[in-house]
């Protein structure tokens, strides 16, 4: 994976010094809170309901074991012994003291991490397929281009005060695991007719109060032009994006208002003037970054693994886990292992210091010291030899990270909600917890099959409810928590926005409501049809009818 050189390190170190000075000036009263706010936000420091929250970037979801171990240390030293992995592949610490943040950031800088641009109206952490560099189905390791974009976007002087935040996601696989179509810019690597690999560029996707699917603005962009093309899009957005209304300031609104044709024309016009300038990526630059992502030293593996075979036959739990939580690796004899951070009854995406340290140890021993964070708030050991699966499974099970529920009904995405967040209208985590209790029978969970429930505590949609197969949005009515349910959303290559089912249901009724929807699905599904396919085939009407008939 990418390792900083002395230039990258100096920039992050200088940032720590700068922020140390800004915090000092704030505490000394030289900076007002209004002036300090954008400065702390650009370091990922939010003021939440109960304390400061620090959001730390995990660029394109890739962590080294040393970095994860350091996050564990930070959880113990500066927080209440846990952290929360987010829907943007970042990690948040919820109980931070302002005066300690400079030291915390210095501790992060020691392992080449930071909170730069994890907030504010700038280009945010760039997200990617969590299986990049390992997945059997990928065209190319997209992290190379994510790192190139990371450097370009870091302290970009022209784009640090955009109309609104700006999120870029990239997938190097035709099977989109990065939700690129609900990002401000989505990038999909693919081959053109001549067999060259380049980028499809999509623009104007997003969630929030006006969910939209991104539109293709360029079918095929040669690699060397990646940065100039992005700069052209950002330049058009910086000039013409709306600044009169916070809720209409994202690029999706600009694209929607002027239309994708006009947007394309404006971007192309700008791009023509800069495409052959200093942002051109020479092959040598791409190669130098790509060298960091060279494959690890895979070992030839025996085709037969009698030990694993035996466990598979003798232990149903292992067999179920193996069937559910693994993903095919591009190298024979290896698999991608998902550690489920969705055990029954706990907050989705939370991990304690000890859990982080044990996953880091597992990565050192069994996954070439690499870990990934997924936007679905799980962790991944990307390169595990099949022969090591029994041991990895046992260790993950010991720390509660081996629930065989990946992609199933209890693999719930949830934002922090009203338990932490100052924007929230309702709680998210307790709804997720109650759902995991209701659906604790694994046989039933597996019978229901592939199903993504996504919960947001407010319309900002950090919990991605618009693209949940079942989306749950917390709203507040007369001081009480209610939940609005949507059906049929999807964040993958067939992205769609869910349809609102009907009036919001009470907090008390929401678990029964989900159960009711599952009952309808089980009754009307055809063969092995997934929940999403059933909704797409029959529409929301049968679900709605049964839900509100009994309500």
């Amino acid at each position: 994976m990418y390792a900083y050189d002395e230039y990258d390190q100096a920039i992050v170190d200088q940032r720590v010094s700068q922020f140390r000075d800004q915090v000092r000036r704030r505490i000394a009263g030289e900076l007002s809170e209004d002036e300090f706010r954008p400065l702390r936000l650009q370091n990922g420091l939010y003021l939440q309901l109960h304390a400061y929250m620090l959001r730390i970037a995990v660029p394109y979801g890739t962590l080294s074991s040393a970095q994860l171990r350091q996050l564990g240390y930070i959880a113990r030293r500066y927080d209440r012994n846990y952290g929360h992995f987010t829907t943007r592949q970042n990690i948040q610490f919820n109980w931070i003291k302002l005066e300690e943040t400079p030291d915390l950031l210095a501790d992060l800088a020691r392992v080449q991490m930071h909170g730069i641009q994890t907030s504010g109206n700038c280009i945010r952490n760039i997200t990617a397929d969590q299986y990049a560099g390992a997945a059997a189905d990928e065209i190319e390791d997209g992290r190379v281009y994510c790192e190139i974009m990371r450097q370009w976007s870091t302290f970009h002087p022209e784009f640090s005060f955009l109309p609104r935040k700006f999120k870029i996601a990239l997938t190097g696989s035709p099977n989109d695991r990065a939700a690129v179509r609900v990002h401000d810019i989505g990038i999909r690597m693919h081959r053109n007719a001549a067999g060259e690999i380049g980028f499809e560029v999509m623009v104007g996707g997003g969630q929030g109060r006006t969910p939209m699917i991104a539109k293709t603005i360029r079918e095929f962009l040669p690699k060397e032009h990646l940065l100039s093309y992005l700069e052209a899009i950002l330049r058009v957005y910086n000039q013409f994006g709306r600044r009169d209304n916070l809720f209409k300031a994202r690029i999706k609104i600009l694209v929607h208002e002027i239309g994708v044709e006009k947007m394309r024309a404006a971007v192309e016009d700008e791009w023509q003037q800069i495409k052959d300038g200093p942002l051109v990526l020479p092959q040598a630059t791409i190669d130098a970054i790509a060298a960091h992502f060279a494959p690890p030293d895979y070992r030839p593996q025996a085709a037969e693994q009698p030990e694993v075979e035996r466990l598979r036959r003798s232990d149903g739990e292992f067999a179920l886990w193996e069937r559910t939580n693994l993903f095919p690796h591009k190298v024979p004899g290896y698999v991608i292992v998902n550690a489920s951070l969705k055990p029954e009854g706990l907050a989705p995406g939370d991990a304690t210091a000890e859990q982080m340290e044990i996953v880091a140890d597992l990565a050192d021993r069994y996954s070439f010291s690499e870990v990934r964070v997924t936007h679905a708030q799980n962790l991944v050991l990307p390169h595990v030899a099949v022969k090591d699966l029994p041991e990895v499974w046992r260790r993950l099970r010991e720390i509660g990270f081996a629930t065989p529920n990946l992609g199933l009904i209890t693999d719930i995405i949830a934002c922090p909600g009203l338990d932490y967040c100052s924007l929230a209208n309702a709680r998210s985590i307790p709804v997720a917890q109650r759902l995991t209790h209701r659906f604790s029978d694994l046989a039933r969970v597996h019978d229901i099959g592939e199903l993504q429930i996504k919960i947001s505590g407010c319309i900002n949609a950090c919990g991605h409810h618009h693209v949940g197969h079942i989306g749950i949005l917390g709203v507040e009515k007369n001081g009480e928590e209610f939940y609005q349910i949507t059906l049929g959303g999807s964040a993958d290559q067939d992205a769609s926005i869910g349809t609102i089912l009907g009036p919001a249901v009470s907090s008390k009724a929401v678990i029964d409501a989900v159960d009711n929807l599952i009952g309808t699905y089980l009754d009307i599904r055809q063969g092995r049809e997934t929940f999403l396919h059933t909704v797409r085939r029959v529409g929301v009407a049968p679900f709605k009818e049964r839900l509100y008939a009994t309500a």
């Binding site: 230039y7 920039i11 940032r15 700068q18 302290f155 022209e158 200093p278 942002l279």
Partner: protein, 172 residues
């Protein structure tokens, strides 16, 4: 109002003529774009320096043909969080090769000076006195930069290429 120019506090010789006001008899003057377009010939005939102040919604291309006649182009930050003038500044410097004074006006705060400087601003109206005090500090906060912006600073990628070239040289 004090002016920070090229890192130093200087007396501002320029007078901003608000639309509708008569031009001063003497001294260089800055006018808004509409007045510049309407009174261009007369302003040039004064022969004592003229500058133009653009709103951040004005198109800098409108000045493209006149840039070598202007002593100042002033851009506006109505709020520090409104970053449109950063793009205007880069276009003036990099696309239209403007070499005169490029001035930041409005809500100019110390912690934004480096971004502004990187985009081509070399003069800052210091409504906030901290702007004058913190120049060295703020501009010196970073010594390395990723993006090529035409400000003359070396980029990290440029430094890497130079190093790679000299490494190759050395190994031969």
């Amino acid at each position: 109002m004090p002016l920070l120019k090229n890192g130093k506090e200087v007396e501002d010789p320029w007078h901003l003529a608000v639309d509708g006001d008569a031009l001063p008899v003497n001294g260089p003057v800055i006018v808004f774009l509409a007045r510049w377009k309407a009174e261009r010939e007369a302003l040039l005939r004064r022969n004592i320096g003229v500058g133009v102040r653009l709103k951040n919604t004005d198109k800098v291309a409108e000045l493209a043909d006149d840039l070598d006649r202007l002593g100042v182009v002033a851009l506006e930050f109505p709020k520090f969080s409104d970053g449109r003038a950063y793009t205007q500044a880069r276009l003036l410097r990099e696309r239209y090769a403007y070499r005169g004074e490029l001035r930041a006006t409005g809500n100019v705060l110390p912690d934004q000076l480096l971004f502004m400087h990187r985009c081509g601003f070399d003069a800052f109206e210091a409504t906030d006195p901290r702007v004058l005090r913190n120049w060295e500090n703020v501009v010196g906060a970073f010594s390395l930069f990723y993006q090529p912006t035409g400000d003359g600073r070396a980029t990290v990628n440029g430094l890497r290429q130079t190093r790679a070239a000299s490494d190759n040289e050395g190994s031969r």
